[in-house]
């Protein structure tokens, strides 16, 4: 059995410095809190695409940190022409106006085409398949009404500190918006 070593003085110089530094550290963090308090907010922001700025470059499909992008195509039906020949649905020169795979523009066949009445068809996006490539958006914008557009689907998005797509978006279309209104939908006033 070893004898215990002698006790050192209760408060050494170092301990004193440390205590001082700790107080200083806590004060600093308190100060930081004070400065940040007005800037901090429970109303966190999320990333969203301004459809008016999107240039449909295809990066939304390739740059998201998720394998299947959190960006999806959204459809404002009130803008839609319900076209028989939807340029968002069909390749530029389809063999026929039917749902055959080779006629579909969407690389993942994420758009559902349903007959409503002559000559109108409804187009709906299957979010689970859409990869946000904006191909249909380009087709719809170019010839049609622009009722298809991209949005960050908030249930998929991880809300990265810096959106990996927004960083390289050529249209500078990404911005942070308040979490309680997390979409920039196209809407009409009629």
């Amino acid at each position: 059995m070893n004898p215990p070593p002698q006790k050192t003085s209760p408060l050494s110089r170092r301990q004193f410095f440390r205590a001082g530094a700790r107080v200083a550290g806590m004060t600093g963090m308190g100060l930081l809190c004070g400065i940040l308090a007005p800037r901090a907010s429970a109303r966190t922001t999320v990333w969203q695409i301004d459809p008016a700025k999107c240039l449909r470059c295809g990066r939304c499909a390739t740059e998201c940190v998720l394998t299947q992008s959190a960006v999806k195509c959204f459809h404002t039906h009130a803008f839609c022409g319900y076209c028989q020949l939807c340029t968002g649905y069909f390749v530029p020169e389809p063999n026929g106006l039917n749902t055959a795979a080779e006629n579909q523009l969407c690389p993942t066949a994420a758009i559902r085409r349903t007959y409503i009445e002559d000559p109108y068809y409804e187009y709906a996006i299957d979010e689970t398949l859409c990869i946000g490539c904006a191909k249909c958006v380009e087709g719809c914008n170019r010839f049609g009404n622009g009722s298809l557009y991209l949005q960050v689907s908030q249930d998929h998005c991880l809300n990265c500190n810096e959106c990996a797509i927004g960083r390289v978006c050529p249209g500078d279309a990404f911005r942070r918006i308040p979490i309680d209104h997390p979409y920039l939908l196209k809407t009409t006033s009629h």
Partner: protein, 354 residues
């Protein structure tokens, strides 16, 4: 004992050596960082979009089909130009924003008429009266530019996009109600043309976007575009459907996209000039509705081709073309995106036989 336990046992030589090693590690890392940043705008920025919407060869026009050349041109005096037409005195009437500008054929402004709202339709009668279609209303101006009448809006959800006038009647294309209204010259409604009616063999207008134009043809029939069905239709003034021509294809002989043509003009000899959006192009169709020649192809309107049709302004138009024909058969083409008017004339010696 290990070195780690005695970080203070440092000689000058070792100190220098470690310093150099440390500095070079830092230097290499820094250099790598700088290089990484430098090459940031790397190949990926220049790689084409793997999901590009490819129109491919449809964006090029076969030069041998182009029968017109640009002989003159000018810029619209006002922003947001929408329509143009010629009045009986040969002046060019141009609806832009809340104005109608009257121009000479070289583009100099002769006079202007201020409007209470943006105009989307124009028609000039032979007596000098100018009819202007606002979104919901038709206004009539005399040759001096004084407003003579303001007609009641048609019932329903009117969205007027085209006008045509004869000696006795005025025809108003109402895209909102998907119908052509027939009025007498005083504004009294006389009939509705082109409404879906299986008994009269009228299929009805399919209008995904507000583009419905009506023109009077020398044969006495109306020519109306039906963009959703990719064709031009002919009706008698009483609303009998007579004929239709046109097919849906992005190829040069047809009408591209979901809904084209958007605007029409008629040459003195009755051939039809069509304007398209999406693939902006102006073409001439003969009396039987067969494709004849190209006035101006996609190459002539690069900005317009880029703009995209749909993301519209308040009148639902962002891209598009309009055309008007003067007495000599020259075609004035309005590019709504750039605000340019191109004066197109037959290429010498290339006038194709109609």
């Amino acid at each position: 004992m290990s070195e780690l336990s005695q970080p203070t046992r440092v000689t000058r030589r070792r100190f220098l050596w470690q310093g150099i090693a440390g500095a070079s590690v830092l230097g290499v890392m820094g250099g790598l960082a700088v290089r990484a940043v430098r090459s940031r705008q790397g190949a990926e920025d220049r790689a084409p979009n793997p999901f590009a919407y490819e129109m491919g060869h449809f964006e090029q026009t076969d030069a041998s089909l182009i029968a017109y050349e640009r002989v003159a041109g000018f810029r619209c005096p006002r922003p947001d130009p929408r329509r143009l037409t010629f009045d009986a005195r040969g002046r060019l009437c141009l609806a832009a924003g809340n104005y109608v500008s009257l121009l000479d054929t070289a583009g100099a402004t002769l006079s202007e008429i201020a409007l209470p709202g943006p105009a989307r339709a124009l028609a000039a009668a032979s007596d000098g009266t100018l009819y202007v279609g606002l979104r919901q209303q038709i206004l009539a101006f005399d040759a001096q530019g004084q407003r003579r009448a303001t007609w009641d809006p048609p019932p329903g959800k009117p969205w007027l996009t085209g006008l045509a006038v004869s000696e006795t009647d005025l025809f108003a294309a109402d895209a909102g109600n998907r119908v052509i209204h027939r009025y007498d010259r005083s504004g009294k409604p006389l009939g509705r043309i082109g409404e879906r009616n299986a008994d009269r063999n009228v299929a009805g207008f399919v209008l995904p976007s507000p583009f419905l134009d009506v023109e009077l043809h020398p044969d006495g029939l109306l020519r109306v575009n039906n963009p959703g069905r990719h064709r031009v239709e002919a009706y008698t003034v009483d609303g009998h459907f007579e004929l239709a021509w046109g097919k849906a294809t992005a190829a040069i002989e047809g009408f591209c996209g979901c809904c084209n043509p958007i605007n029409l003009a008629v040459l003195p000899d009755g051939r039809c000039v069509t304007c398209e959006k999406g693939l902006p192009r102006v073409k001439v169709y003969d009396l039987h509705g067969e494709f004849e020649s190209v006035v101006a192809g996609v190459e002539a309107f690069p900005e317009n081709a880029k703009a995209g049709a749909g993301d519209g302004m308040t009148d639902g138009v962002k891209a598009g073309l309009d055309a008007a024909v003067d007495a000599t058969g020259r075609i004035y083409v309005l590019d709504m995106v750039t605000g340019d008017v191109h004066v197109m004339a037959n290429k010498p010696g290339q006038a194709l036989a109609g």
